[in-house]
């Protein structure tokens, strides 16, 4: 039951996303193209953040002389 509600809520959010970005007007294969582009770009950004965030934070702390 909770899973059904969760699924309904998620599909409502997906519907809103389609409406707001005008993907609702496009054909299904175009939606797939756009969604894969978006997910790959977002995935790459998250991965880069994950790899480089510790170095950047150490550099900031070093600059503000919090840590030597």
């Amino acid at each position: 039951m909770a899973l059904g509600d969760c699924w309904k809520q998620l599909s409502w959010f997906y519907y809103q996303y389609l409406l707001v970005t005008a993907l609702y007007m496009l054909e299904p294969w175009e939606r797939t193209v756009f969604n894969s582009l978006l997910i790959s770009v977002a995935g790459m950004a998250i991965y880069t953040g994950y790899v480089f965030m510790p170095q950047h934070i150490m550099a900031i702390l070093h600059y503000f002389e919090v840590v030597q």
Partner: protein, 513 residues
């Protein structure tokens, strides 16, 4: 033949500013993002069509003619090909019944994303009609009401087969013109067979080179076409903005014609009674004051307001308690409130007599058909009460009440609505292109037919759904529509209004006088 008791409610009505509320910032941003995305995909699809990976459904030249001057420019119809075609199942829907308060639609499906349609053979019955210009409910097929129309059809046939100047001037036409002149409170009037042609063919007869036309920003295409055809200089003032109009009039009177500095032969101010896309009402008293001060003429197009506003349905002149003789040229159409077709121009006798011989429409266009003429005659007799019943005044009151109720409930629900409180045209702003399409489809699934309007007819960020309230709608129908609107508004997140509205007082306590 003048006004009945002066309305004590006129001055508060004049002071109420019409609201054109702005949506939150993210709405405008996402509208542009949406259009940008679909445009990018449009370029992509055009590329696929050019390369040959996709079948091209639009018109193309033959192979042998590809080296000639191009007949079909690829880019010109970019918008139609890539945006409109994807979603065009929401427009041009075929109707298979009378366009009354409820109607039947033919069901049609598309197998190739709206490039072609096929009918399934079934019809969708009893769809509530919120799109027809049926303000007083005269689009009806009640045999009793239409008896005189049927008699005329039997006696005179279906068409006149001639122009007014040759053998097409029936005594019916004279009777109609007499009635229209009395109805409006002017000296004389002339009727034409087509409403659009009334504007576009008569403005060239009234103004020419050396004259100045000052027209409102949001005027209808027929007015713009007539102005361009006339050859006069056209200047545009901001919508319903009296400061802009006054500045333009001052500048015109002081500087005269552009190079020679001679005074303008004529200055004509063109405005509409109710603007069909905004639902806003013209500020008639202020325009008349300006026109008297700067000695200009006024052309008032009452296509949507005649029969629909005013305590007895006589249009904006009655709404603002203004003498109809102050308006130089009163124009209107019979398509909206009278359930017929055609238009009229009314005013002083010299003006109308001049138009009878000089207007293109009078000389070349075929005269109005006898059955339609009789329909207008019976509609005017019904509205003014000349046929002895109170049906007309009942319909006018019903329309005013429906309009007030509908607008108040929509504002209370939190939608952004444009326009003045008396206008039966209610635009509901939707903004984003995908929401426009989803709205039309969802409302049809709930058996309500709405008209949605998008980019070329409205500014790009202000797509809207336009409701036309009718006197034939019962309170139940309006409640049903409002209930569904509420649900669809929640499902699609359309309630952008940030103003707080107190819940409405009982409409039975509000009175008109």
């Amino acid at each position: 033949m003048k006004k009945s008791s002066p309305q004590s409610g006129v001055h508060p009505r004049q002071n109420k500013q019409e609201s054109f509320e702005q949506p939150p910032m993210y709405v405008a941003v996402m509208t542009y993002v949406g259009y940008g995305l679909v445009t990018l995909f449009g370029y992509f699809r055009d590329f696929l069509r050019a390369v040959g990976l996709e079948k091209c459904h639009v018109a193309q030249e033959r192979e042998e003619q590809k080296d000639f001057t191009p007949l079909y420019q690829d880019f010109e119809n970019f918008y139609t090909r890539n945006l409109y075609m994807r979603v065009r199942d929401n427009w041009n829907r075929p109707i298979c019944s009378l366009p009354g308060p409820v109607f039947d639609l033919m069901e049609r499906v598309s197998d190739d994303y709206n490039w072609t349609f096929r009918f399934t053979g079934k019809s969708i019955p009893n769809v509530i009609n919120m799109g027809s210009y049926n303000y007083l409910g005269f689009a009806e097929n009640n045999a009793d009401f239409l008896k005189s129309v049927a008699d005329r059809l039997q006696r005179y046939g279906a068409a006149v087969c001639s122009t007014r100047q040759e053998t097409g001037n029936l005594s019916l036409h004279e009777e109609l013109e007499q009635l229209v002149a009395e109805f409006l409170g002017v000296e004389s009037s002339m009727t034409f067979g087509m409403g659009f042609a009334t504007n576009s063919m008569n403005i060239p007869a009234l103004v020419g080179k050396g004259c100045l036309i000052i027209s409102d920003e949001l005027n209808h295409t027929s007015l713009i076409l007539g102005a361009r055809l006339s050859g006069a200089t056209i200047r545009v003032f901001k919508h319903n903005n009296m400061c802009s109009l006054e500045k333009m009039l001052k500048e015109a009177v002081c500087s005269g014609q552009p190079r020679t500095r001679r005074p303008w032969r004529k200055i004509l101010i063109m405005v509409e009674g109710i603007y069909s896309m905004e639902g806003s009402v013209v500020r008639l008293p202020e325009i008349i004051a300006l026109k008297e001060k700067y000695k200009a003429y006024l052309y008032l197009d009452e296509a949507h307001s005649i029969g629909a506003v005013g305590p007895t349905g006589r249009g904006v002149t009655e709404l603002f308690n203004v003498n109809p003789g102050d308006v130089d040229v009163m124009m209107g159409t019979f398509t909206k409130s009278f359930g017929a077709a055609g238009g009229y121009i009314a005013g002083k006798k010299e003006l109308v007599d001049y138009l009878r011989s000089q207007s293109h429409s009078a000389v070349y266009a075929s005269a109005m058909s006898p059955a339609i003429t009789e329909q207008i005659i019976r509609a005017i007799k019904c509205i003014t009460g000349k046929d002895g019943s109170t049906e007309g005044i009942r319909r006018i009151r019903q329309l005013a009440e429906n309009t007030r109720y509908f607008r108040a409930r929509l504002k209370e629900m939190g939608f952004i609505i444009y326009g003045g409180d008396e206008s039966p045209v209610v635009p509901l702003l939707l903004y984003m292109p995908a929401k426009v399409v989803a709205f039309a489809r969802e409302m049809l699934a709930r058996k309500i037919g709405v008209v949605v309007v998008g980019f070329p007819a409205t500014p790009i960020t202000e797509a809207r759904a336009r409701f036309c309230v009718s006197a034939a709608h019962t309170r139940d129908m309006l409640n049903q529509v409002l209930h569904h609107l509420n649900e669809v508004g929640d499902n699609l997140c359309l309630k952008f209004s940030r103003r707080k509205h107190p819940s409405r007082p009982d409409p039975c306590e509000e009175t008109n006088s």
